[in-house]
C-alpha cells in the first residue's frame, strides 16, 4: 500500500504541495482531482523522483520511495505515465512497448507482455511497426499505458490519461483502466481533470486544492457531496 505523509514540495519559491497525506490500500483505484495548478502533477512527479520533496515521506509497502531515482522505480513495481501523450514519436509502436520491459532483460517475457498489451488494445496490434508519431491522440494514450503495463507494475501512476481526447475515447480509456485494475489487482493513482469520469471508475477520491487536500473519501461519497459537486464537478 501507498502511504504519503505530510508531503511538502517546492518549485523554487513556489510551494506546490503544503503537507499532503494520503493513504491508498492495495488493489484500490484512487482518483486525484482538482483544478489546474492544484499540484496533481507535482504529486506524481515527486512520488517517482522527478521532483524533489522538501519534507515528508512516501512509502510503497516497505520501500521509502521519496529518495530513490526515477529509474529505480520500475524495479519496485511502480510505473508512472507522465502528463501529455507520453510516447516517443521517433520510435515505432513496437519499440515504445519494448522500452517498458527493457529493464527486465528478458526477451521472451517481453514478447509475452507485448501480446497481452495488444490483446488489451487491439488497435496497437495493427500498428506495431509504424512510428508512434503516426498515431492518433487516443492511440498514443493507449500506447503510453501499454508501455507502463509492459513493466508489470503493481502500482500505476497515471497523469491525465484523458487529456485532449474525445469523450468517447476517454470513456474507453477509463474502462480499460478500471478493467486492468480489477483483473491484475493493481493499485492505481489516477490524476484527472475529468473529475466526474474519474470518480465513476475510482474506489476512492482525493480532492486537491492549491496544494492541500480539500476532501477525501470513497469515490461514490465524493460524487454525492454537494460541496465537491459545486466546486469540481460543475453541477
Amino acid at each position: 500500500m501507498l502511504r504519503i505523509k505530510n508531503l511538502v514540495v517546492d518549485h523554487g519559491a513556489i510551494r506546490a504541495l503544503h503537507g499532503v497525506s494520503i493513504s491508498i490500500e492495495k488493489g484500490q483505484l484512487a482518483a486525484v482531482i482538482g483544478a489546474n495548478g492544484a499540484g496533481k502533477t507535482t504529486l506524481l512527479r515527486t512520488l517517482s523522483g522527478l521532483n524533489k520533496a522538501t519534507d515528508g515521506s512516501a512509502a510503497w509497502g516497505e520501500i521509502n520511495i521519496l529518495h530513490s531515482k526515477p529509474e529505480s522505480l520500475v524495479r519496485y513495481g511502480i510505473s508512472h505515465v507522465s502528463e501529455g501523450k507520453s510516447v516517443i514519436p521517433e520510435l515505432t509502436v513496437s519499440e515504445n512497448l519494448e522500452l517498458g520491459a527493457l529493464w527486465r532483460r528478458n526477451r521472451k517475457e517481453s514478447e509475452k507482455s507485448k501480446k497481452d498489451v495488444v490483446d488489451l488494445f487491439p488497435r496497437l496490434g495493427e500498428r506495431l511497426s509504424q512510428r508512434a508519431d503516426s498515431l492518433s491522440g487516443g492511440e498514443r494514450q493507449m500506447l503510453a499505458i501499454g508501455r507502463s503495463m509492459m513493466a508489470k507494475p503493481q502500482l500505476l501512476l497515471l497523469d491525465e490519461p484523458s487529456l485532449g481526447l474525445a469523450p468517447l475515447v476517454v470513456e474507453q480509456i477509463f474502462q480499460s483502466i478500471r478493467d486492468l485494475t480489477t483483473a491484475l489487482g493493481l493499485t492505481v493513482v489516477l490524476v484527472e481533470q475529468n473529475a466526474m469520469g474519474a470518480l465513476k471508475i475510482a474506489d476512492i477520491g482525493i480532492v486537491l486544492n492549491l496544494g492541500s487536500i480539500a476532501a477525501t473519501g470513497s469515490a461514490a461519497a465524493l460524487r454525492d457531496d454537494p460541496a465537491v459537486r459545486a466546486a469540481y464537478l460543475g453541477f
Partner: protein
C-alpha cells in the same frame, strides 16, 4: 573519365573518414546536446596511443582496437567528469549551447597541451599496414589501393556494427530512447546517465578510428598540432551538420558528399578554395534544408 573516377575514389575514401568523425559528433549531440569539439582531441590522443602500440607490437590490427578503446575511455572520462556536472548544474532545460561548446574547446586545448608534455617533439607514426600503390587496371594505376580498400572496409564494418547495435539490440533501443526522451526513458527504468556515458564512449571509439585512418591515409604520422586533425574535426562537424546533426545516416551521407565534392574541387578548381567550398556547400544545404539533409523539423529537444 579515368581521372574523374580516380577523383571520386579519393573523395569517397576521405569522405568516409569524415563520416566517422561526423558520427562521433552526432552521437554526442544526440546523447547530451553538446557540440563536442573535444572529439578532435580524443581522436588525436587515441591516434597517439595507437602509434605507441604500433611501435611496440608492430601490428596495425592490435593498434587500431586499442586506440579505439583509448578513445572510448577518454571520451567517457570527459563526459563523466566535465560535461555531466556542467549540464547538471545548468539544468536540462537551458537552450544555452555556447558554454558547453566553449568547455569542450577548453578540453581540446588541454588534451593537445598534455600530448605535447608527454610526447614532446616526438611524432606518432601510423605507417600504412597495406600498400598504398594503386591497383593496376588496363595498364594504368588507379586511385584505389589496398590501403584505401582497407580503410573503406573498416569504415563500412564499423557503420554496419553501429547500425546493428542501434537498430537490433536492447542497448541500441535504450540509446535511442534516452536521446529522444530522457524523462520517459528514466521512468521506463533506463539508467539514462550511464547510457549517455556509453554514447560518449562509442563516439570516442568512432573518433579514434577516424583519427587513425586519417593518419595512415595521409601523412602517416601525427603531431599534437597536426593541421590534419583540425581539418578532420571541422569537416567532420560540417558533415554532421549537413546530415542533420541528429542522424547517423545523415552523418554518413554528409561525410561522403563533402568528401566527393571537396575532392572534385581540389582536382579541377584549386586547392585554396577547398575550405571556402566547404562553407558554401554547408550554406547551400542549410538554405534549402535548415535542419540538414535528414533533419527533423523543429529539431526537437530530447
Amino acid at each position: 573519365m579515368f581521372e574523374f573516377i580516380n577523383t571520386l575514389l579519393i573523395g569517397i575514401t576521405s569522405g568516409s573518414i569524415y563520416s566517422l568523425m561526423a558520427i562521433a559528433i552526432v552521437l554526442v549531440w544526440r546523447s547530451t546536446r553538446v557540440v563536442n569539439f573535444a572529439a578532435g582531441g580524443v581522436a588525436l590522443a587515441s591516434t597517439f596511443v595507437g602509434a605507441t602500440i604500433l611501435e611496440s607490437t608492430g601490428s596495425f590490427w592490435i593498434a587500431l582496437p586499442i586506440g579505439m578503446l583509448a578513445g572510448a575511455a577518454l571520451s567517457s572520462f570527459i563526459e563523466y567528469f566535465f560535461l555531466r556536472p556542467l549540464l547538471k548544474r545548468s539544468g536540462e532545460k537551458t537552450q544555452e549551447i555556447f558554454l558547453p561548446i566553449i568547455a569542450t574547446l577548453g578540453i581540446l586545448g588541454v588534451i593537445k597541451a598534455v600530448l605535447h608534455f608527454i610526447y614532446g617533439d616526438k611524432i606518432g607514426v601510423i605507417s600504412p599496414p597495406l600498400s598504398d600503390k594503386g591497383f593496376i587496371v588496363s595498364g594504368e594505376s588507379i586511385a584505389l589501393s589496398p590501403l584505401r580498400l582497407m580503410i573503406l572496409g573498416v569504415v563500412l564494418a564499423l557503420m554496419i556494427t553501429l547500425t546493428l547495435i542501434f537498430q537490433r539490440t536492447n542497448l541500441g533501443l535504450s540509446l535511442r530512447a534516452a536521446s529522444f526522451a530522457p524523462e520517459i526513458s528514466r521512468l521506463s527504468g533506463i539508467r539514462v546517465d550511464a547510457i549517455r556515458t556509453l554514447g560518449w564512449a562509442i563516439s570516442g571509439a568512432a573518433g579514434a578510428t577516424a583519427g587513425i585512418l586519417q593518419t595512415t591515409n595521409g601523412a602517416g604520422s601525427v603531431t599534437p598540432e597536426a593541421f590534419e586533425f583540425s581539418l578532420l574535426l571541422v569537416f567532420g562537424f560540417v558533415a554532421a551538420v549537413i546530415g542533420g546533426i541528429e542522424s547517423l545516416v545523415g552523418a554518413v551521407i554528409g561525410g561522403v558528399t563533402l568528401g566527393i565534392i571537396l575532392a572534385i574541387i581540389l582536382m579541377y578548381v584549386g586547392g585554396s578554395l577547398v575550405f571556402f567550398a566547404a562553407f558554401i556547400i554547408l550554406i547551400l544545404v542549410l538554405l534549402l534544408r535548415p535542419n540538414g539533409i535528414i533533419g527533423v523539423k523543429g529539431g526537437r529537444r530530447a
